[in-house]
């Protein structure tokens, strides 16, 4: 058995516990531990990616109990790339957090590592109930992180976020319970097999459970009309936390993709394609709703939050079209949009600090120190996030549009994605003008920009540029991952093989 599969879970868990024990120690000590753990995670995730790159499905049976009875962790191409994305994002975010956000916050790093534990667990688990548990782990860590720093707006947004997610968890349990009651299993591969042999009278119940599950994942993934919590929660929290949360909607998108391609995929017989009628239309509505939000935002971080909604809609539209090409395009866009959204949140914080009392509100403010540098970085990030050439957003959207050719929804996809891209770039141009060129006489600027603060956003942009230069290999990997998803019988047999083969060392 390959122990590398469980390493992305154990490392943040142990680091989190160690940081909890170190909570009284000096800040540099805690920073060093957290930094070390996060960068080791990048190495481990990369190693894991190399191991699954040949198409093998790594299965880790906890306690060596064989699969449908025991709990399994499964790493295929999709899981591995998601874990690597999480690791890279968290490394950039932690570099930014070290610049000030984690000072006077004794539990910041503890919660941060626990959040990584939950996210990696959600990506790697092969068991529906464990998916619920890891959702709860990442959520409770996110509640703590979200509320860090306090303030009335943040508390109100946090209360909404917590209550909504608790309702979501309850629905999740109802769905899991129904599936278990009918099928007698919680292992996702086993569920898929048993769904194929479902009797006529149970079909309605199973479909209801499946759609309930979809509603829960849609809530996490910010699919309209369940996206309304996101702008408040992301827009009012501190910048490193919001940047880290960029991956959280992707956990929902990942769960939808997994359910869409595995449990309700081609192998599951009568319930195959359960999500097909819903995913693409709702995703396109999300894009439109998000774009309206971007245009109406009064603060830069709120605008960034609505950009997350737009990107969630765009990538779910790709997943909703189905087929290897669309999945691959969606995966490319997922990688790009997570990194780009995080960069916007971090940059919004830098700008906000430099603008004194104007903060990141979109009103005329003081002349910024090092304004040209900030404006330059803003321009690059805005180009990337809105999907203009030559940056990664353009490649992602291009791939999605290309994948939609020949699909029944093609006119809608083309019309909505192109018009909203135009509106987003116009709005961001207006935002840039307001932030950097509309000077209010007499307003005092905030603390001068430290160039090192721009390190993390720039690193994220550089990764994005790398994704353009190496667009070929990245897209090919996405295509390989998509084909693996579509041939789910390999996944199922890899997971369940342990049941017949008995325990192997």
């Amino acid at each position: 058995m390959n122990h590398l599969v469980i390493a992305p879970l154990l490392l943040p868990l142990l680091a989190g516990i160690a940081l909890l024990l170190l909570r009284g120690s000096a800040t540099p000590m805690r920073q060093a531990v957290s930094l070390l753990a996060t960068f080791t995670l990048v190495v481990i995730a990369f190693q894991l990616l190399l191991q699954v790159a040949d198409g093998s499905v790594l299965v880790y049976r906890l306690g060596d109990w064989s699969a449908p009875f025991g709990i399994v962790l499964v790493a295929d191409r999709l899981s591995a790339i998601m874990v690597l994305l999480t690791a890279v994002l968290s490394a950039s975010v932690i570099l930014y957090a070290l610049r000030g956000a984690d000072h006077d916050a004794r539990f910041f790093h503890v919660l941060f590592q626990m959040q990584l534990f939950g996210i990696n667990g959600a990506f790697l688990t092969g068991d529906l109930f464990n998916l619920f548990v890891f959702f709860e782990v990442l959520l409770i860590a996110s509640y703590g992180l979200l509320l860090y720093g306090g303030g009335a707006d943040r508390t109100r947004a946090g209360l909404h976020y917590v209550v909504l997610n608790l309702v979501g968890s309850t629905l999740f349990l109802f769905a899991v319970g129904t599936l278990y009651g009918v099928l007698g299993t919680l292992n996702m591969a086993d569920i898929t097999q048993r769904l194929a042999k479902i009797s006529e009278e149970d079909l309605g119940v199973v479909r209801a459970a499946g759609l309930l599950l979809f509603a829960v994942f849609a809530l996490k993934g910010a699919l309209a009309p369940l996206h309304l919590w996101l702008p408040g929660a992301y827009g009012y929290t501190s910048a490193p936390v919001a940047a880290m949360f960029a991956i959280m909607t992707k956990v929902g998108a990942y769960a939808i993709l997994r359910a869409h391609s595995l449990m309700f995929g081609p192998e599951s017989g009568p319930v195959a394609g359960l999500l097909d009628p819903w995913l693409l239309p709702l995703a396109l509505i999300t894009v439109v709703a998000g774009t309206i939000g971007v245009m109406a935002s009064k603060r830069l971080s709120q605008q960034a939050a609505y950009l997350v909604v737009v990107s969630a809609g765009t990538l779910l539209a790709a997943f909703g079209m189905g087929g290897a090409e669309a999945f691959a395009a969606g995966l490319y866009y997922l990688l790009h949009s997570t990194l780009a959204a995080a960069a916007v949140f971090l940059l919004a914080d830098v700008i906000s600090k430099a603008r004194g009392n104007a903060l990141d509100r979109l009103i005329p403010g003081p002349e910024l120190p090092r304004g040209q540098l900030l404006a330059g970085v803003f321009l690059v990030i805005a180009l990337a996030v809105s999907g203009m050439p030559p940056l990664s957003g353009f490649v992602g959207k291009w791939l999605i549009l290309q994948a939609s050719i020949g699909e029944p929804g093609m006119p809608w996809v083309f019309a909505i994605l192109l018009v909203t891209s135009l509106l987003v770039i116009m709005t961001l141009a207006r935002t840039g003008t307001m932030l950097f060129f509309k000077i209010e006489e007499g307003a005092t600027a905030g603390s001068p920009v430290r160039v090192l603060d721009l390190g993390a956003p720039l690193a994220l942009v550089l990764i994005g540029i790398g994704m353009v230069v190496y667009a070929g290999p990245v897209y090919e990997f996405g295509q390989a991952a998509a084909e693996q998803l579509l041939r789910s019988e390999a996944y199922i047999s890899a997971v369940l093989q342990a049941a017949t083969g008995g325990p192997q060392p």
Partner: protein, 108 residues
Amino acid sequence: MEALIAIVIGVLTASGVYLSLRGRTFPVVLGLTLMSYAVNLFLFVMGRLMIGIPPVIQENATYADPLPQALVLTAIVISFGMTAFVVVLALRARAELGNDHVDGEENH
């Protein structure tokens, strides 16, 4: 028996949904708690209702499914922790916003 349990779960869920749609934080917390009770009960009966049957597999013997009990235990622990958290958060919101409305404003 099944019908009674089903009615209980239904009533708990309906009350929970109603309460969690109220405008003050205290009824909302109560509503979430009722919903978590309902879902715990629901998970528990998903292993089918049986009386006086051991949760152990023996030859040629019926057995009660032990897995839902393990699931319920996990779900109870999680919902207990979450309830504690949301109570503290509601208190903090009351302190910071000056009232106990979920939107923090009286005139909504």
